[in-house]
């Protein structure tokens, strides 16, 4: 599953910008986002009741966050956010994070999500 997501990111031209070797990490490359690209993910999205526009919104927020706040390695910031967002909405599982994030980081990010969920439950009591 994660491989198809990363391939999909490549189709998005994100990896073109990621692999462009720009040390300043500026996101100047344009992104081409056609409906045919997004429709590839439709089966996964429908299963989790996520609309295509919600997915696009997630991606744009991740890109903006990386551009605004990640001072180094924006490439990695985009990929990690995207994978974690898909994990949060239930499209990816823990094992899907492992090939890209590695086990240590996968444990950390899933702990962060679990902590936030647990805190929400506690604060709503």
């Amino acid at each position: 599953m994660v491989n198809s997501m990363v391939k999909w990111l490549e189709r998005f031209s994100i990896t073109g910008f990621l692999n462009s070797g720009r040390e300043d990490g500026n996101m100047e490359k344009s992104m081409i986002m056609g409906p045919d690209v997004i429709s590839e993910l439709t089966p996964y999205l429908e299963e989790k009741h996520i609309s295509q526009s919600q997915l696009v919104s997630i991606i744009l927020k991740d890109l903006l966050f990386a551009e605004k706040y990640a001072k180094t390695n924006q490439t990695y910031a985009i990929v990690e956010q995207f994978l974690v967002d898909l994990y949060r909405v239930g499209i990816l599982e823990y094992k899907d994070l492992l090939p890209v994030l590695g086990f240590e980081r996968s444990l950390e990010v899933t702990n962060a999500i679990r902590t936030a969920k647990r805190f929400r439950s506690w604060s709503e009591k």
Partner: protein
């Protein structure tokens, strides 16, 4: 109802810096008043050390020391026992102060707030049925009482993070982002 919570130095600094940066100290303090803050005597010593420095974090430490907070003693032998249980004897990174907060939270059966991400990860992985949270999430919860979701998100990343963690690593920045996003998504 006032809820008892235990805080580490890192979380206390985050809490009081956010109060100062929020631009609405009265509202913030009103919401903070919903909690009874408890910390260890080791935290008190750390806050006093912070308070004499010359930066915003020092101001936050001074504010916290003048706040009505309970500082409780933790015996050294209790700390040593927990260090052994947690397998952190002789290891760098997790301090006696962190452990004293964890001990107090178990002793008082109250949630523990800590913004040392490495320690929080270790503690919550080890005691996965316990309430061991990031202080920054408590800040989100307080702010969400008088700010909208987007405003809270902006506050955390435009104001709090740059002032609280000036040279934050990408790893910790993203850890905060994931946790804050998860909390705010379902809060709204």
């Amino acid at each position: 109802m006032v809820r008892e919570i235990v805080c580490d130095t890192s979380a206390i600094i985050t809490l009081f810096l956010s109060c100062y940066l929020s631009g609405n100290e009265d509202e913030y303090r009103h919401e903070l008043g919903q909690y009874r803050l408890i910390a260890s005597n080791l935290v008190y010593s750390e806050l006093k050390d912070f308070a004499v420095q010359d930066d915003d974090l020092a101001l936050s430490a001074q504010e916290s020391l003048s706040y009505n907070m309970d500082f409780l003693s933790v015996e050294l032998e209790d700390i040593e026992q927990y260090k052994k249980i947690l397998g952190v004897v002789g290891r760098r990174g997790i301090t006696d102060c962190d452990i004293s907060g964890l001990y107090l939270s178990f002793d008082r059966n109250a949630p523990f707030f800590i913004d040392d991400f490495k320690a929080q990860f270790h503690f919550s992985s080890f005691f996965d049925d316990r309430d061991i949270f990031f202080g920054v999430l408590l800040v989100c919860s307080i702010l969400a009482e008088f700010m909208g979701e987007k405003e809270v998100f902006s506050f955390i990343f435009d104001k709090l993070v740059p002032n609280r963690w000036a040279n934050i690593s990408l790893r910790n920045l993203l850890t905060i982002k994931h946790a804050v996003s998860e909390y705010l998504t379902y809060y709204s």
